[in-house]
């Protein structure tokens, strides 16, 4: 695919611009320097469970190299060890919010390519046997026309492994954090996947409960470990 216009702002891109070398050479870039600069990249030391930058967390909300949220998850027997670790690429700032909403809710499919170079770079550090998308309910899928998590996987050149299906659909966003966490299981899987290393892909990590629910089901189906990668970290 040859991209002549920035996928975000449509401005024409000069292919000779030097910053593209930030990405691996053969990868074309999908956005202009201005738009790229508006995303705040996650760098430095992060919580070893959820990928949140440690510098941003007040001292009373972290212990060692984990954030309090993750410590709480790990202290809970039901959830301990389900999700090994999460990686996120950028902060969920206003710009990221806008772009992700356009991708997911307005349905601008092409934006799934936006982070391909950064995702591929990250994937080199993760070992996995299968990439699994977070499924959408049928209604949601019809409404949006595509599954954003699958779109990202396809854009990166991988085949999504649809191991998970949704049991029932409920508007998660309308629920509080504890309601979301205590929601009975929303995903199921029909196959056993002994000793497989699974990578989950989603657009945002907010409370981490969606990814943990997915991870729990996969773990129960025999998976060895589950890691996740999201574009933004809320």
């Amino acid at each position: 695919m040859i991209i002549e216009h920035c996928l975000v702002c449509f401005s024409e891109m000069m292919p000779q611009m030097g910053w593209t070398t930030l990405f691996s050479k053969e990868e074309s870039s999908y956005m202009c320097t201005e738009c790229y600069a508006k995303f705040e990249k996650i760098e430095g030391e992060t919580c070893k469970s959820c990928g949140r930058p440690l510098v941003e967390i007040e001292p009373q909300f972290k212990a060692g190299n984990r954030c309090l949220d993750c410590i709480r998850w790990e202290e809970d027997h039901e959830w301990a060890g389900t999700l090994e670790r999460n990686h996120s690429l950028v902060h969920y700032n206003d710009f990221a919010k806008e772009v992700i909403a356009r991708f997911k809710y307005r349905g601008d499919y092409l934006l799934s390519y936006l982070f391909v170079p950064l995702i591929k770079k990250k994937l080199q550090l993760i070992s996995f046997d299968a990439i699994v998308p977070i499924p959408l309910s049928e209604d949601r899928l019809y409404e949006r026309g595509f599954n954003q998590s699958e779109a990202i996987i396809l854009a990166c050149g991988y085949q999504p492994n649809n191991l998970l299906t949704r049991i029932h659909s409920e508007k998660q966003s309308k629920k509080s954090r504890s309601e979301r966490i205590h929601l009975s299981q929303v995903f199921q899987t029909k196959i056993n996947i002994p000793n497989k290393k699974i990578l989950l892909i989603d657009d945002i990590y907010t409370t981490g409960s969606t990814l943990r629910h997915a991870a729990k089901v996969l773990k129960e189906a025999g998976a060895q470990s589950i890691t996740s990668l999201t574009i933004a970290r809320g």
């Binding site: 349905g107 601008d108 019809y142």
Partner: protein
């Protein structure tokens, strides 16, 4: 778009069978090239394919108007072509006790005529003439004739301001208010107030389209909006353009008689428009590099500070404004600056209105829409390209708006007069002359 409708599908089907609705393809192919039927996009860069869960194919969609929801090859566009929601026809819907100035009355009669005869008309009303009131009788005439009316403006804040105003003068009709993020989805309201962007939702829907601020418009620039206006009108319909400052092309067409127009050359309070004063200020940009402000500017600001008169100072660029602010603050610590991306924009405008700020530096963001009752205005660097004729007329129009303080000074500080400056001054001069001739000015 089908997804936007709040009406059940069966009802849509019924309307369709009655001929009140028509379906169109969202994207059609002409000469092997796709065209988006909502926004008119033909540029291949703004189309993309996606694996569509609805039709199961690689479905083509338009990225140009994506913010209004995705239009793809399998999306039908629905248009309402039936009558508007029933209103008590033949009875005036207008509930307004105000009165029109002589100039407004004359223009108002022309609007009524154009609407009744399905014609096009440009209303050229000076800043502060009171153009909204001029529309009331025309809108009423359209409504009583069972017509659907659309009032479109480029800015969301204008939609927000006009909606309650029009709802209060037309209390018994359905008014739809559309802007990015609004919930209103009435298909068939008698009166629709919308941003020009949302106009893209409509197809041959209106008997009367009123287009506000045609000059501020991306309209003259943006092809897709021209397309939208065209698509939104019924084949036989009237079109009213409103502007304080038509561009050169429109002015010429008016003078040559190619465009039907009516002027309101005087303000509602019957005082003349303040005339801009040109003042050379040297190479101010060079001075700025050495942290120096032109002495003429410093004097001008000092004089206003001493006499406690608030003022606006327009600056062509943000980076220049940021250099000027600390320099000018040495005259008064409460001087502020505002620009389009300033998160505190609203707060600063309110503080200015509350007289907590003596001098406000601004980019062209405050060029229109905002009114402060008793101010002087200056432009620094009036020669800059950003200050077009219409921008300068609008800026001059900030002065002397209120009846209590109908005068004030407007100065263009420049490093070389431009055509735009001269044309702006002439435009204001001509309007004052015309107003005097017609007896619309008392002072």
């Amino acid at each position: 778009m089908l997804d936007d409708l709040v009406i059940p599908l069966e009802e849509i089907q019924e309307h369709y069978e009655n001929g009140c609705l028509i379906y169109r393809k969202g994207i059609s192919i002409e000469k092997n090239k796709p065209i988006c039927n909502r926004c008119g996009n033909k540029n291949k860069h703004f189309f993309a394919h996606f694996p569509c869960a609805r039709c199961g194919e690689q479905c083509l969609y338009c990225r140009k108007c994506i913010m209004m929801g995705r239009i793809s090859a399998c999306t039908p566009l629905i248009s309402w072509t039936g009558p508007p929601a029933q209103i008590d026809i033949n009875r005036s819907q207008l509930s307004w006790n105000g009165s029109l100035s002589e100039g407004q009355q004359a223009a108002s009669e022309r609007v009524v005529q154009a609407i009744n005869e399905n014609k096009e008309l440009l209303i050229w009303a000076v800043c502060g003439a009171g153009k909204t009131e001029v529309l009331f009788q025309g809108i009423d005439a359209a409504l009583t004739a069972g017509k659907r009316v659309c009032l479109a403006t480029p800015r969301t804040d204008v939609v927000l301001e006009l909606t309650p105003r029009l709802k209060s003068v037309f209390p018994n009709i359905q008014v739809a208010s559309l802007y990015g993020g609004s919930e209103d989805r009435h298909l068939n309201a008698s009166l629709t107030i919308t941003t020009t962007h949302q106009l893209l939702r409509f197809y041959q829907a209106f008997d009367t389209v009123i287009l506000d601020e045609v000059d501020a418009f991306p309209y003259s620039v943006e092809e897709s909006l021209q397309y939208a206006v065209h698509q939104a009108r019924k084949q036989s319909s009237s079109m009213i353009y409103l502007t304080a400052t038509p561009n050169e092309k429109w002015q010429t067409e008016c003078l040559q008689g190619k465009k039907d127009f009516a002027t309101i050359p005087a303000r509602y309070h019957r005082h003349p428009l303040p005339m801009p004063h040109f003042q050379w200020c040297g190479n101010w940009e060079k001075g700025l590099k050495k942290n120096r402000l032109p002495p003429t500017i410093v004097q001008w600001v000092k004089k206003r500070l001493d006499s406690n008169k608030q003022c606006l100072l327009f600056i062509p660029k943000i980076d220049k404004m940021e250099k000027i602010l600390p320099l000018i603050r040495s005259l008064h610590p409460k001087i502020e600056a505002v620009h389009a991306e300033d998160p505190n924009r609203k707060e600063k405008v309110i503080a200015m209105r509350n007289k907590e700020i003596p001098v406000l530096l601004t980019t062209t963001i405050l060029e229109r829409g905002v009114t402060f009752p008793n101010i002087d205005v200056a432009v620094l660097g009036a020669e800059d390209r950003i200050f077009t004729e219409s921008a300068l007329v609008q800026i001059a129009g900030r002065v002397g708006r209120s009846a209590q303080f109908p005068s004030g000074e407007i100065t263009f500080f420049h490093y070389g007069k431009t055509n735009a400056m001269i044309r702006a001054k002439n435009q204001i001069l001509k309007m004052n002359e015309e107003a005097r001739k017609k007896g619309l000015i008392d002072y």
